[in-house]
């Protein structure tokens, strides 16, 4: 159990100080120790053991407790199983149902379904990349995906206020669309991949039709739970207090998202052995988009434009989310897979990024898709982001 726990630890993100906060405290502490040196005559404090070993990526609360509660009943060995493997039955028949029972709120239940959609598609992609996605396996996966998608949509529809999970579902579908499309063009099992891709796109277009996309979406309900006093319209004082409360909450949230962004950027840039350039580039594009949106959120906040700030914050979170899925995908797929750019539901340039890879190196151009030249978009967003990057970072640093 300890070993499984250790494995999980390395994959998870957590509550942590943002880069800015960490540096700020570091600076204060550095000053402090400089101005208060060890007293003359006293021996330096001896150290018992190597307590300063750096453990930057620590486990999240959740998994620790789940492991404790379920002990050895969840087989982590089965987690990597693919359709056709002996342990796959354990993965979908034991592990996943077990995690399902741990979900008590409607929101969590909805997320569980989306998670399963994600897993099935990921399995298909891994198989396809290995040239192993035959018709039988594809059918199995397709059946499951259909069931999970239906369940996910049903549960999401039941959640009246929370559109964040709807976004998760859309993000999942968009990222897998990119990966499947890329695999479909290169791989032996192109036909099977194509069938799955068509299924994903059917759902995506139905959802787009029903719920609208990009600019049409309402900014989601604020995720801030912190103590925002409810304003009373006729009391000016309370109004002002409410605004400054809301502003503080929003500022705090920007910091939080910034911290997550920093974490993800570290992951992306650390260049794990099997994160390939093209996928990493894609993750970076998304992270840069998130960074830009976050900087915008800061600016809007400073101007007192709370609603706009929140919209920008939402965009940042979306980009971050997609970057995560992309990074996770990077761990599973072989080196030679190139991603088509992931759709980013932003107003303007990055939207409809579902296109052929406009880069010069890539031979295959998705001419059967929408005709925008995404290569250009990518360039633009890179240039834009490198200009704004410093500003964005500095602003958040000052926060």
């Amino acid at each position: 159990m300890e070993e499984e726990f250790a494995q999980l630890k390395s994959q998870l993100e957590t509550i942590r100080l943002s880069a800015a906060e960490r540096e700020r405290v570091h600076a204060v502490l550095s000053e402090y120790v400089t101005h208060r040196p060890v007293s003359r005559g006293s021996a330096p404090a001896p150290v018992g053991y190597a307590w300063f070993a750096v453990h930057r990526f620590v486990a999240v609360v959740a998994v620790a407790l789940v492991v404790v509660l379920f002990g050895g009943t969840v087989s982590y060995a089965a987690e990597g199983a693919l359709p056709g493997d002996a342990l796959y039955a354990v993965k979908v028949g034991v592990n996943e149902p077990l995690r399902d029972t741990f979900a008590r709120t409607p929101e969590h239940r909805a997320t569980r379904e989306v998670d399963k959609v994600n897993r099935r598609l990921a399995e298909a992609e891994t198989l396809a990349a290995e040239g192993r996605l035959n018709a039988a396996l594809r059918e199995d996966i397709e059946t499951r995906v259909t069931v999970h998608l239906a369940a996910a949509e049903a549960r999401v529809a039941m959640l009246k206020t929370d559109t964040d999970i709807a976004e998760t579902l859309d993000a999942t579908l968009d990222v897998h669309d990119s990966i499947l499309a890329s695999l479909g063009e290169d791989e032996v099992d192109g036909e099977e991949v194509g069938v799955l891709l068509a299924r994903v796109r059917t759902v995506t277009s139905l959802r787009a039709h029903e719920y609208g996309r990009s600019g049409g979406e309402e900014p989601q309900a604020p995720m801030m739970a912190l103590q925002t006093p409810s304003p009373s319209a006729d009391e000016e004082e309370q109004q002002a207090a409410a605004e400054s409360g809301a502003e503080a909450d929003l500022a705090a949230e920007i910091t939080e998202v910034g911290a997550e962004l920093d974490t993800l950027q570290e992951r992306a840039l650390l260049g794990r052995p099997n994160v390939r350039i093209s996928v990493r580039e894609e993750a970076e594009r998304l992270l840069n988009a998130a960074d830009r949106a976050l900087a915008d959120a800061d600016k809007e906040l400073a101007k007192g434009e709370f609603e706009t700030a929140e919209e920008k914050l939402t965009l940042a979170r979306r980009a971050l989310h997609r970057a995560t899925i992309v990074l996770n995908a990077a761990l599973r797929l072989p080196e030679n897979i190139k991603l088509f750019p992931v759709r980013l539901p932003e107003n303007g340039s990055d939207a409809d990024a579902q296109n052929g890879d406009g880069d010069v190196e890539s031979a295959s151009v998705g001419s059967d898709r929408e005709g925008n030249d995404d290569g250009e978009d990518r360039e633009e967003s890179r240039r834009g982001s490198s200009r704004e990057d410093d500003d964005g970072r500095t602003r958040r640093g000052a926060g």
Binding site: I15, L17, E21, L29, S30, A45, A53, A62
Partner: protein
């Protein structure tokens, strides 16, 4: 151990090593976020004050946690002078999210369960399971015997299971 590294460097390395851990411990109990950061900082400063007098510290992380724990208790006293009960409520952050929403949801569920444990069980379970301290270290942090801590950990986990099994589906 390299005896040539000076204590200042070692101290700062300690911060780099588990500053986030200390922050998380604060963050789950203290709000707003700013104050959690401040208390984290203050804890380290206090630890340095102790270190510079040449005192020995065998377990740095446990020592920092002990310090920060006391600061949190002080914070609670200042905040709620009326409450004699020292049970600090566990703050369940709403913003545990985005990077992996499903894990985040799982995290919230787990924290909700944890929050329902009685204070003294909750603390030891958190320190053991989340922060990864051993019973001996927890004993040091809380100023108790290792035995008492071990027993409490087991009981705490048992209660957690009970809570989980009896919670409505």
């Amino acid at each position: 151990m390299n005896q040539n590294t000076n204590p200042e460097e070692l101290f700062l390395k300690a911060y780099e090593g588990f500053g986030d851990s200390v922050f998380r411990h604060c963050y789950l109990r203290v709000s707003p976020r700013e104050e959690a950061v401040d208390i984290t900082q203050e804890a380290f400063m206090k630890v340095w004050d102790y270190l510079r007098t040449g005192q020995e510290v065998h377990n740095m992380k446990a020592f920092v946690f002990k310090t920060v724990n006391n600061l949190i208790i002080d914070w609670y006293r200042k905040k709620k002078p009326v409450t004699l009960d020292d049970e600090e409520a566990l703050r369940i952050p709403d913003t545990l999210h985005a990077t992996d929403p499903e894990l985040a949801a799982l995290g919230r569920e787990a924290l909700t369960l944890l929050a329902r444990l009685d204070g003294e069980y909750r603390t030891v379970v958190e320190l053991r399971i989340i922060e990864g301290f051993g019973p001996k270290e927890i004993a040091e942090i809380l100023g108790e015997t290792e035995n008492a801590v071990s027993v409490r950990i087991h009981r705490g986990i048992a209660k957690l299971r009970e809570l989980y099994e009896s919670s409505p589906e």
